[in-house]
């Protein structure tokens, strides 16, 4: 088994890191740079280019250069390059493949496994496309980690290192046994994410996260570019967008000016020379930082607002945050720091390079999924689950971002006099109207003692266990009648686990089955099915000649979930009978 590398695949730039002993380090590319632009191109001679060299020739070859492909991942669109249509994952694979080669050169070993980061709000489809891109690049993607989680984990890891170092007077908060709350504000080139985590010793849990997949530094570049283009048109009558060469030049100049304004008070968006109305002109658009900040303000405001919402989701005041971690190049903008200080009263932690922390975190994750016990990260529920009540209203019971395992109960009642049964309608989603959420199932609880409306007390229990199974039960507290359903994650389109994670959950399910079946009298057929499924779950690799594919493991997981559901139903049936006999 070779090393596991961590990849931060960004909209504008990508980075790659690995663990050197206990310390995560960045892997330089063939040019000795730590960042590789997420740009691919094909030259007139048919040569494929990735990174800086692709970016450099974008000016002369814009038709055959693709940038920002991350935003198209998971979509069905085809990108044209070199007279051919490319799926986004094929282009992403070229970038990942180039990073892999850099890593192999740096480590002098073959590299076949990686952890890749993705924005927290990346959909299932986008994640799958990323896994596919990794596969095309010859990398087994062990896990897709949310970018902010990676940043927090990198910080936790280094805090841990400091705490363990002898003679360290004051370890970072949360490093040694005490609990701390970390807010990760990740403002990248194309996406914005904010995540609130709690860290206790080596244990991290995500409390809440918010994001906007269409908010990033590229939006600032575009706005700045739009203004410069308008100024050039007014001043010189120059239509920049009529010429792809000029258009590209201006885009790059805008990005450079934006970066400069993080340090300087004034910068110029300029084009060395252009032809306008038959004459050579030198268009330049000078901008003071205050003006840029005015332009950037709506974007930054939105990001700070999302940070506030993440705090509200977790019902935490900003004052409870122990550490603010900035990541992503756009978080270098001074206005970001100022607004975070003004609105939330938070100052960022020093000693962290916002561009690098996500990749370093991905490398740490690589160590975690390949077996390091030094740090443990808990999962959270990815969606909100609840029931429909009278009037089509959705009542959430388990909220998104609750740590797994999660469980919650709520007591409901009847709406009609003499009602002897209730239907429990289980849904997934965030909307207040039940009809706008995804229906997961309906079941009937019968055997309620008829009583005036509002009198019966019916307790509805929701739980999600560590294997991602949703179990919903209803019980009439008066008569003891109960009914339940189990909904496998397969039916909810829930997780995108790594193989390791899948195997861990399979063995959890097998344990659960062993526990549930004890004392139950079952038909031979079912006994045999349970034995066989558990045997496969405990050693997924045995039985067949080759290691089972990810798809086979997922199928096995769904089957085990079906069996757990059946055993739960049988147990509750037996309980009923014992009670009836009494």
């Amino acid at each position: 088994m070779g090393p596991v590398i961590g990849i931060d695949f960004g909209t504008t730039n990508s980075l790659c890191a690995c663990l050197d002993g206990d310390r995560p380090v960045l892997i330089p590319n063939a040019r000795g740079e730590r960042t590789t632009p997420s740009v691919v191109a094909i030259t007139a001679k048919g040569e494929y280019l990735v990174g800086e060299s692709a970016k450099n020739q974008a000016l002369v070859n814009p038709e055959n250069t693709v940038a920002g492909v991350k935003r198209l991942l998971g979509s069905r669109s085809l990108l044209s390059m070199g007279g051919k249509g490319w799926r986004p994952e094929e282009l992403v694979a070229m970038i990942l493949g180039s990073l892999r080669k850099d890593a192999e050169r740096f480590l002098s070993r073959e590299v076949g496994r990686a952890v890749i980061t993705a924005p927290a709000n990346f959909s299932e489809r986008e994640r799958r496309a990323l896994i596919e891109a990794g596969r095309l690049a010859g990398l087994e993607v062990l896990r897709i980690v949310n970018e902010p989680t990676a940043a927090a984990v990198a910080r936790a890891w280094s805090a841990l290192g400091k705490a363990e170092a002898p003679g360290q007077a004051s370890p970072a908060p949360g490093a040694a046994g005490e609990s701390s709350i970390v807010l990760v504000y990740d403002f990248g080139g194309g996406t914005f994410d904010v995540t609130l985590l709690s860290q206790e010793g080596s244990d991290c849990a995500v409390l809440s996260s918010r994001g906007d997949g269409r908010l990033g530094g590229a939006d600032l570049d575009a706005e700045l570019r739009r203004r410069a283009a308008a100024a050039f048109r007014a001043e010189h009558g120059l239509d920049v967008d009529a010429d792809r060469f000029l258009a590209q030049q201006l885009s790059e100049a805008a990005e450079r000016a934006k970066i400069e304004l993080s340090e300087r008070e004034e910068a110029v968006v300029g084009i060395p020379f252009a032809l306008a109305r038959g004459a050579v002109v030198h268009p330049a658009f000078a901008l003071r930082r205050a003006e840029f900040e005015e332009l950037a303000r709506p974007f930054v405001e939105r990001s700070v607002e999302l940070a506030q919402r993440a705090l509200e989701d977790a019902r935490m005041p900003a004052s409870s945050v122990d550490a603010l971690v900035l990541s992503g190049g756009s978080s270098r903008i001074p206005l970001v720091r100022r607004l975070l200080a003004e609105r939330l009263g938070l100052e960022p932690e020093g000693g962290i390079n916002p561009e690098e922390i996500v990749a370093l975190g991905a490398a740490v994750w690589g160590a975690l999924v390949s077996g390091s016990e030094r740090l443990r990260v808990r999962d959270v529920v990815s969606r909100t689950y609840g029931v429909e009540i009278d009037g089509g209203i959705f009542v959430p019971l388990i909220r998104k971002n609750s740590p797994v395992p999660a469980s919650r109960s709520q007591v409901f009642t009847t709406v009609e006099p003499g009602q002897d049964s209730v239907e429990v309608h289980v849904l997934q989603g965030e909307a207040k109207a039940a009809s706008e959420n995804l229906s997961l199932g309906r079941f009937l609880l019968s055997g309620i003692r008829p009583a005036p409306a509002g009198e019966p007390r019916i307790r509805v229990d929701f739980s999600i266990d560590e294997s991602d199974m949703l179990h919903v039960g209803a019980r009439d507290l008066g008569t003891g009648a109960e009914q339940a359903i189990s909904i496998a994650d397969f039916d909810r389109g829930a997780s995108a686990d790594s193989l390791e994670e899948l195997e861990r959950k399979l063995s959890l399910l097998a344990e659960r089955i062993a526990e549930l079946r004890s004392g139950l009298k079952l038909e031979h057929g079912l006994e045999a099915e349970l034995d066989e499924a558990c045997a496969r779950a405990r050693s997924p690799s045995s039985g067949g000649a080759s290691k089972p594919s990810e798809g086979e493991l997922r199928l096995l997981k769904a089957e085990l979930e079906g069996l757990v559901g059946e055993l739960l139903a049988r147990r509750s049936e037996r309980r009923d009978r014992v009670e009836a006999e009494r």
């Binding site: 049964s421 019968s446 009914q483 189990s486 039916d491 079912l526 769904a558 559901g565 049988r570």
Partner: protein
């Protein structure tokens, strides 16, 4: 059970099959269920009674198969009619996918039926979405399949389906309960005993389910 109370359909239902099942399917279903309910597999008298019902259904249906073709149902079995269902074979996941993707309700019903015939309790995970299918044919096939699996986790969902269905479908579900006597119909019968239709109430009152162990 006699031909009068439901005709051949009831015998097919005991085996978890729709009325159009072919001879081979009857044999496969019989073998699976006979194995599950064989008296050697459990000392429970309920199992023995289920076993004799399965044997009786098989005998009646194979006798019919031997009768002149005029008395038989349509020649092509669902397996032959729906190539993709056939191709899915015993693959529970593939059959579950067909329930989500097939546009023809007959193909979805056939997929649900195949899941029932798999004889594996785990198949319910893939089957349950058919209970919410827009087509009544598929929903009924799903209930039949759940009964063929002897699935207990289906109890609450089948009862909810009964309550939201029109009278004709409710009658069919009760027919399945009567034919199979499966425990999963317990809540359904509880609800049916208070049905708005007096006739369905009468039918429900007359059905006694098998008790397990």
């Amino acid at each position: 059970m006699s031909e009068a109370d439901g005709g051949y359909e009831a015998y097919f239902a005991v085996l978890g099959l729709g009325p159009e099942a072919g001879a081979e399917e009857v044999r496969t279903a019989y073998r699976r269920l006979a194995m599950r309910y064989h008296p050697d597999s459990s000392r429970d008298p309920g199992t023995a009674r289920q076993f004799s019902r399965v044997v009786r259904a098989y005998k009646v249906l194979s006798a019919r198969e031997a009768a002149p073709p005029a008395r038989r149902g349509p020649a092509a079995s669902p397996r032959e009619r729906y190539q993709r269902v056939l191709e899915a074979g015993e693959d529970l996941f593939a059959l579950g996918q067909l329930l989500a993707t097939e546009s023809e309700s007959g193909a979805r019903a056939a997929a649900a039926e195949r899941l029932g015939l798999s004889g594996r309790a785990a198949a319910y995970v893939f089957l349950r979405r058919a209970l919410y299918d827009p087509s009544a044919e598929v929903r009924l096939a799903a209930v039949r399949a759940a009964a063929a699996l002897g699935s207990r986790q289906a109890e609450g969902e089948v009862a909810a389906l009964y309550c939201r269905s029109p009278a004709e479908e409710r009658r069919s579900i009760l027919g399945l309960a009567r034919a199979t006597r499966e425990r999963l119909f317990r809540s359904t019968l509880e609800a049916a005993r208070r049905d708005a239709e007096p006739e369905l109430r009468r039918i429900a009152a007359a059905i006694g389910l098998e008790r397990a162990d």
